[in-house]
Symmetry: C2
Subunit: 134 residues, 2 copies
């Protein structure tokens, strides 16, 4: 399951995608419109900025905006930033791989199956972008 944090992130990003190239958007505006706790949203946006999804402008007339065109930011990227691994097992994760003890990957049936699930999932999440959310 995606965390609430991730759901908030997508709600905010959708809003930013809708306002792409219309100048920075205030946190407070997004928080209010999308009913997201303001301080919580602040954290999320900071993280997305640190990870190069967003940019921000300070001062009066400032706010957050997408770094690139919505069609350039993949859903999978956002999930990985906010929630971490997408795979169902650490031992099949591409970005958060961890060896699993007590199971030989070469001959573990579950491993193979979860790899298939991962591939099917990524086929969707690594192709679709913020543009598909608006």
């Amino acid at each position: 399951m995606l965390s609430k944090k991730a759901q908030y992130a997508f709600r905010a990003l959708t809003h930013l995608a809708e306002n792409y190239n219309k100048g920075p958007v205030l946190i407070s505006e997004m928080a209010k419109k999308k009913r997201i706790p303001l301080k919580f949203l602040e954290n999320i946006l900071l993280e997305l900025k640190k990870e190069d999804i967003l940019e921000s402008k300070k001062g009066r007339g400032g706010g957050y905006y997408l770094k690139e065109h919505p069609s350039k930011t993949y859903i999978a990227t956002v999930i990985r930033i906010v929630d971490g691994p997408i795979s169902l097992l650490p031992c099949v994760s591409l970005y958060f791989y961890q060896r699993c003890k007590n199971c030989n990957e070469k001959q573990c049936g579950l491993h193979d199956m979860m790899k298939d699930v991962r591939d099917a999932t990524l086929k969707i999440l690594e192709r679709r972008t913020l543009k598909d959310l608006v």
Copy 2:
């Protein structure tokens, strides 16, 4: 991510699948062979029994065994019993559906996307069975 509980469940079920029709298997045997905390495993097996995946026999010579042929028990079923929902959002879950507030399902882009992910995932997990794990 699958919980450790689910991973343990699959390890135990794999063992039971390998010993299908060879009589009941002791909890203690599975715990030892698969390195699963015994009491924790006990809970898992009880749950799987209550949900009609397993049957058990008490007394000397007793133990647990699969209720049906390994090819009859779907991976998705086991995950739902042990971990709950497979979907990434409650509002696209088939067995654990929950309406999401603040988002209209008809026009929520995330909803549609996660539905596609769900379908792709279930296409695998609802076809494969314990037999595929051995």
